[in-house]
């Protein structure tokens, strides 16, 4: 009898995670209750910019149930680290100012923490906050990046004159200037890529526990990066040995980048637990609170210039961007608008000359860091709007302009001219693969693009303006080879490999531990599919574990769509090591030469003698017992592997959005959404589609509804879920998805990554659709989000009415 296992690699297998989530048995941070646990609440600044003259906590300390009250002065920890500077060949000055566990002398945004109460119940902690008396000295605030670098603006930090964090550039300035000097046509546009709030449905939280008996700290955190947090907390913030801290991420209820970082509250719960003698301390942010305690995303002001020939060939791209980074820097804030933005501005196009300058700016706002796509949606928005502006200027169809500028399929590996990911010391990154035209053609066919004029006429007969928008994007997954990071000094300032351990236990059951950290992506399913395929062991005999620094190998966590490329590389290597050891032991068991053992699925057979065979389960049983091992072989089928990717992977595709605008009200309805994505091969196509759906919806959210808005005094006007509009089911259509498949040569599975692709593509597609709908009125550009109010104002202004649009310059 053979023991063939169904091959599940590439199959739409139902997720093994789901039974617990659909029955109420997930374990998220706030579901954890520990013996003797206390609760913490944090007093946050009501001012965007102020000095703290003094803090009187005496009344709070005397309040019912209060165990302790802390201010910044009580906590000796260092400020949080900033681990991803804006790097580059010239050695960039990053004027670093980061948060402390609690602010000490001054606050830089509304919501920065200044004091904390630990009490028996969460309600008591909250009640006692109101008894803390802070003597504030309010200072003038500035929230807009352009205003913040202007003369006379309020100054946030002494070490950052004119509120500049860094001035960074990439690409070839001379060549770009020359392209403009010789250009037949140029277009220019100011683009605002507005500020967003990530809003995973589970907010962040931590439980800190100090054990006085062992002098060890344990922290449960809703985090994408438990291993990195242990490193940062130990070595940079708290100054305790790394082995004295254990970080655990329980089930994480979404993250989208916002849970990558080292946050003040993590240090705070650990400090507090130690200070109160080792009772655990739980803190969970409220949704409103989270808008000041968890990072925001995007917030760029960009000036883009495009030089083109009369037939629409783009010859030069010049981009100047102000990146608002908030009041202090988050963990990798400067890395997002530089490495992950400037270096891929040429997208899928053959643009010979690109130059990009980015200035990072401090303002009195919540800190800004990676939000789904992180830099790449901003870059895609710039280049995809630029393509449409060129098309509009020349009267050429936007699809045709793209087609003319696409890199041809024989361009790969391609080293792009925005110095794309070219580093010093000859360490280069290149676009691994691509074939852009077939994906676009497929999407255009699905969309019925050839009949657009008729569709527009039909909509017009109903009083609606129909607009169609394209986005032909590329995405960068799995940043980056450690060698490259070492050479440029970007990335975590450390390596970016991944890790995997596989144990085949005595009973033939498998435990896989990974250094990556899911937040809804279904890793427990997809890794099990891979290992089942590699070892021939049924999926139900495999469990995938992660999320606990005790018991999993060090890993950098999951973000930047890196798990498929980098994490699976580690799993494959560990499986190969398992197979190799099993093969050597099979040779011993079957009294054959290793070279004569062939492996098929779970079976290890002697070539030419098909009856002489052992299954991996039989091998594991014997090898784990180790009653009889050959000289030099260690017991147990247990292997660990580390994988450093040789390069990033670059998914691509074409998205087509259809919007209908009601001319009377300005209301924009997304009526249809078509997407053809090429993410290489797929481990689980059902999960891939799910990632695309979610990403597409988030990108649409930015284009149509979502916006973090500050008043000039630094108050967050979109300060709750009542005011910040997340996409709802009623506002979205179902999506029409298809694929092309260009396997990545970077990893053996040929996979690329998909976590961010949807979000990278969709914002630009919807924006282009809205502008296309409005173009018959002479409107050439409008900044997002396209709320009814803004669009109505633009329509009124364009048709000589009285409405005024607070949008971009047309």
């Amino acid at each position: 009898m053979t023991t063939m296992t169904t091959d599940v690699l590439g199959a739409p297998v139902r997720r093994v995670e789901d039974p617990r989530f659909i029955t109420g048995h997930g374990r998220y941070l706030d579901d954890i209750k520990l013996p003797a646990m206390t609760h913490m609440a944090i007093l946050r600044s009501p001012y965007a910019h102020a000095k703290i003259r003094s803090i009187d906590t005496s009344a709070a300390k005397a309040a019912p149930g209060v165990v302790a009250v802390f201010t910044g002065a009580d906590i000796a920890y260092n400020p949080l680290p900033m681990a991803w500077p804006a790097g580059g060949a010239s050695g960039i000055q990053n004027n670093v100012n980061t948060p402390r566990a609690l602010a000490t002398d001054d606050v830089k945004w509304t919501g920065e923490g200044v004091a904390a109460v630990v009490a028996e119940t969460a309600a008591q902690a909250q009640d006692a906050l109101e008894l803390i008396d802070v003597d504030w000295e309010p200072l003038p605030a500035v929230t807009d990046a352009e205003k913040a670098i202007a003369d006379g603006a309020p100054q946030l930090h002494e070490n950052a004159p004119n509120n500049r964090v860094f001035d960074w550039q990439v690409g070839d300035k001379e060549a770009t200037d020359a392209a403009f000097a010789n250009a037949a046509v140029t277009v220019h546009q100011r683009l605002v890529n507005h500020r967003l709030i990530p809003n995973p449905m589970e907010v962040r939280g931590d439980i800190g526990w100090y054990n006085p008996g062992t002098d060890e700290y344990t922290i449960w955190m809703s985090s994408q990066t438990p291993h990195i947090q242990r490193l940062l907390l130990a070595a940079f913030v708290m100054g305790v040995p790394e082995q004295k801290i254990r970080c655990i991420s329980p089930d994480v209820g979404g993250a989208f980048g916002s849970k990558i970082f080292c946050y003040a509250d993590m240090a705070l719960v650990l400090h507090a637990s130690k200070a109160i003698g080792g009772r655990p301390v739980k803190w969970v942010e409220e949704r409103r609170e989270s808008y000041g305690s968890t990072i925001h995303g995007r917030d760029h002001i960009t000036y883009v210039d495009v030089a083109a020939t009369k037939d629409g060939m783009v010859k030069g791209l010049r981009v100047k961007t102000l990146a608002n980074l908030g009041g202090r820097l988050s963990t990798i804030g400067p890395g997002i608008p530089t490495t992950l933005y400037g270096r891929i501005l040429s997208g899928p196009y053959k643009i010979p000359a690109v130059h990009c300058e980015v200035t990072g700016v401090y303002t009195n706002t919540t800190f800004v860091d990676a939000y789904r796509g992180a830099g790449r949606p901003e870059a895609t928005y710039v280049v995809e709007r630029a393509m449409d502006l060129v098309a509009d200027e020349l009267g050429i169809d936007p699809a045709e302009v793209r087609r003319r500028n696409f890199l041809p399929p024989d361009s790969f590996p391609y080293d792009n001219p925005s110095g794309l990911l070219t580093a010093v010391n000859g360490s280069k990154l290149y676009i691994d693969s691509g074939n852009y035209e077939p994906a676009m053609d497929k999407a255009l066919a699905m969309a019925g693009y050839a009949d657009i004029a008729a569709k527009k006429a039909e909509a017009k007969s109903r009083g609606k303006l129909l607009g169609v928008g394209l986005s032909t994007y590329i995405e960068v997954c799995g940043v980056a080879p450690s060698k490259w990071i070492g050479a440029v000094g970007e990335g975590w300032g450390a390596a970016m490999w991944e890790s995997s351990n596989i144990k085949v236990h005595l009973t033939g059951k498998v435990v896989v531990t990974m250094g990556t950290q899911p937040q809804g992506q279904g890793h427990e399913t997809t890794y099990a599919q891979i290992i089942s395929h590699e070892l021939g062991i049924p999926m139900e005999d495999i469990v995938v574990q992660h999320s606990d620094t005790q018991g999993t190998p060090f890993g950098y966590g999951s973000y930047g769509s890196r798990t498929s490329n980098v994490g699976t590389g580690a799993a494959l290597k560990a499986a190969a090591k398992i197979r190799e050891k099993a093969r050597r032991y099979a040779a011993h068991m079957l009294e054959a030469n290793v070279e004569d053992i062939e492996v098929e699925g779970a079976e290890y057979r002697v070539k030419g003698s098909p009856d002489k065979k052992k299954t991996i389960q039989e091998i594991a049983f014997a090898l784990d017992l180790a009653f009889d091992t050959p000289e030099g072989m260690e017991p147990y089928l247990d292997e660990t592997a580390y994988h450093d990717t040789p390069n990033c992977t670059f998914p691509f595709g074409t998205h087509v959005a259809f919007v209908e605008i009601d001319q009377e009200t300005g209301n924009v309805e997304l009526v249809r959404y078509v997407a053809v994505d090429d993410v290489g091969k797929k481990i689980n196509p059902m999960i891939v589609d799910g990632q695309l759906h979610g990403g597409i919806a988030q990108g649409i959210g930015q284009a149509l509804w979502e916006e973090a808005v500050y008043g000039d005094d630094g108050q967050l006007l979109s300060g709750s879920l009542l005011d910040y509009a997340l996409p709802r089911a009623e506002w979205l259509p179902s999506f029409e998805l298809d694929e092309t498949v260009t396997p990545s040569p970077v990893n053996p599975l040929g996979v690329k990554g998909v976590g961010e692709a949807g979000c990278i593509a969709s914002t630009a597609a919807v924006a282009n659709a809205v502008i296309d709908a409005l173009s018959p009125l002479g409107i050439r550009h409008l900044d997002m989000p396209f709320t009814a109010q803004k669009v109505w104002g633009a329509i009124q202004a364009a048709s000589g009415g009285s409405g005024s649009a607070k949008g971009g310059e047309a």
Partner: protein
């Protein structure tokens, strides 16, 4: 604050709790009755993560005081079905990949259960309307709608077919 003693039915069982007058139904379910499948996603009654059935109607349990639930019958996700005896909605969310992080899922399923109770054959538009008070940040709703559609069809077939075993 003085506590009040209340009694109610939760997932078919008689339960009692001592709660402060200000305690929300969701807090009582999570903290006192340890039914942590019902989640809290916001503080402005916007997200629907806390949705449960009270006397058969979907209610955001963060908008109701625990004391208001006295003598009612509450169903939470734990009471809808368990592994091995999943409700068709739970089964369809699993089959159709209607969840990713799972945080919105219990509330989403309870809201859909309310829809099923009064509309056995909902259109996509009706499904989207019924869950408009529940925010999912992961799925873009595409597969949630597909799951609810699927569950409705399974439940209709179940209702139409004669019982196979008693």
């Amino acid at each position: 604050m003085a506590e009040l003693h209340i009694a109610l039915e939760v997932n078919g069982e008689q339960r009692e709790a001592d709660v402060e007058p200000r305690t929300l139904l969701v807090s009582m379910l999570r903290e006192d009755l340890e039914l942590t499948g019902t989640h809290v996603g916001c503080d402005t009654s916007q997200c629907g993560a806390c949705t449960v059935l009270v006397d058969g109607h979907a209610v955001k349990s963060c908008t109701m005081l625990a004391v208001q639930a006295e003598h009612t019958a509450v169903t939470t996700i734990e009471g809808l079905g368990q592994p091995g005896s999943l409700h068709p909605l739970q089964q369809a969310f699993w089959d159709k990949h209607g969840l990713q992080c799972g945080f919105c899922t219990p509330g989403m399923i309870m809201a859909a259960a309310d829809l099923m109770a009064h509309n056995p054959e909902p259109t996509d538009t009706e499904i989207r309307h019924a869950i408009a008070g529940n925010i999912c940040r992961c799925t873009g709703y595409h597969n949630i709608v597909a799951a609810v559609r699927e569950a409705a069809s399974v439940m209709r077939e179940g209702a139409a077919a004669p019982a196979t075993n008693a």
